[in-house]
């Protein structure tokens, strides 16, 4: 942080652009709020907001391009193409899906990828649109699947210990956790008191917890 504070913010000094000075109708975009800047560009074609975005990101994209291409001309071509997309497609930016920098980075990455392919004159094959989804994967589905994956992972870890539970406890656990039966159903089915079902579950969980802890050490 100290180091950052000492660096003069030459990158954020608004440049004098005659035709945008006049349209400056609001205060300078507050500290690095690029999402806000993009929204101004999208809603009002706000030239000064865009100029601020440009002045900040263009030199950084160039540095990224230099690292990737090792060639200034191509790096600048990438910057121009990327920032043109930012200007033209600002309306597509959706702040709820991530920050402005992520959006700009993915545009630059895709522009760079397609530039490389074009240079190799491979028009018909893999394009950035194939490799990176333009937008979001369905969140709802992803969430349940991800948690299913976690459950699966846990089940994989638990499985060997599950089989070493005493048979009576295992039977109850299988009915409750794998067949998703209620404690009462299990009690009825096995003709054992409800309290016994609960205590067997507690004992089994204790054993499993112990087994997992043991595996961790």
């Amino acid at each position: 942080m100290l180091k950052l504070a000492k660096v003069p913010r030459h990158d954020r000094v608004p440049s004098p652009i005659p035709d945008t000075q006049a349209s400056m109708t609001r205060q300078e975009i507050t500290n690095n709020n690029w999402e806000e800047a993009l929204t101004f560009v999208a809603l009002q074609r706000d030239r000064s907001a865009y100029a601020e975005l440009f002045n900040y990101f263009a030199p950084r994209l160039k540095a990224f391009g230099m690292k990737m291409f090792g060639n200034e001309q191509q790096a600048l071509e990438m910057v121009q193409d990327t920032m043109l997309n930012v200007w033209k497609k600002a309306a597509l930016f959706d702040a709820s899906r991530g920050c402005a920098s992520t959006w700009i980075f993915t545009i630059a990455r895709n522009v760079r990828f397609d530039m490389l392919r074009k240079k190799q004159s491979r028009k018909d094959d893999v394009s950035a649109d194939d490799l990176w989804l333009n937008g979001e994967y369905p969140e709802q589905e992803a969430d349940t699947d991800a948690s299913q994956w976690d459950t699966q992972l846990l089940m994989d870890k638990l499985a060997p210990h599950f089989t070493s539970l005493p048979p009576a406890q295992r039977e109850v656990m299988e009915k409750v956790y794998l067949q998703e039966k209620s404690h009462q159903e299990v009690s009825d089915e096995l003709a054992i008191p409800l309290g016994t079902v609960k205590s067997r579950i507690r004992l089994a969980l204790d054993r499993l917890r112990e087994a997992l802890d043991g595996a961790r050490n």
Partner: protein, 229 residues
């Protein structure tokens, strides 16, 4: 419970994919895996946000580039309206088309749909069929269909072999692979993949060099290795 994907590309591949530095053919296999794998979708999102943050925070030297000219040129162009921009984005999104092999119909992951629409002719050999995808330069990218109860003869790899299971199930000496699982075999790995009696399998295969068959008579297949490549 939905099948849980067990074989993932691993962090370095996901990072290079997010960065855009993988070769196109390898990236395609990783992208198709991500389409099928919510876990790697999340990781990719996180990695991308992290890379973007590094880009945004890197210090830059004062330089001599004439940025004002570029800025001026860009703003001279009209921005797209929301509808126009959205329409353009939709154009690149393909409707889900399925492919048919051995009278079976498969819907491919998003990453493969555009390329698979132009796949080469299916070549059949025993219970195995393969069709090239018009992708890649360093690697050969193809769809590989294996009928029920079929064994791919034991082979080693002269190069890197990536196999992404797209549908069905395949097993080899090391385990069992289902839709979304990504197997990566290096030149030293030897294996005998096969399908089970009740389930066929469709894979994406990315090869950097032909397969080499190992055992007895199957060595006779080596002249046919181009079939798999």
């Amino acid at each position: 419970m939905a099948h849980a994907i067990k074989f993932h590309p691993g962090m370095p591949l996901l990072e290079q994919h997010a960065e855009g530095t993988l070769s196109a053919d390898v990236a395609l296999a990783v992208a198709a895996h991500i389409d099928l794998c919510p876990h790697c979708q999340q990781l990719s999102r996180d990695i991308t946000a992290d890379l973007a943050c590094q880009l945004a925070q890197q210090p830059v030297k004062t330089n001599t580039t004439d940025w004002q000219q570029m800025l001026h040129d860009i703003m001279a162009q009209p921005p797209l309206s929301k509808q126009a921009a959205a329409t353009q984005a939709q154009l690149s999104a393909q409707p889900a088309e399925s492919i048919i092999v051995n009278q079976r119909e498969f819907v491919l992951p998003r990453a493969l749909q555009r390329l698979a629409a132009n796949h080469g002719k299916w070549l059949h050999l025993g219970g195995i069929a393969t069709a090239k995808l018009p992708a890649g330069n360093d690697y050969h990218v193809s769809l590989l269909y294996i009928s029920k109860d079929t064994e791919v003869p034991q082979h080693t790899h002269l190069g890197l072999e990536m196999t992404l299971v797209l549908a069905g199930k395949i097993v080899d000496e090391n385990g069992e692979y289902k839709a979304g699982d990504l197997l990566i075999n290096s030149p030293d790995d030897t294996h005998t993949p096969r399908t089970m009696a009740d389930e066929d399998c469709l894979c994406l295969s990315v090869l950097s060099a032909p397969l080499k068959f190992k055992k007895g008579l199957t060595r006779l297949l080596n002249p046919l290795q181009q079939f798999f490549y």
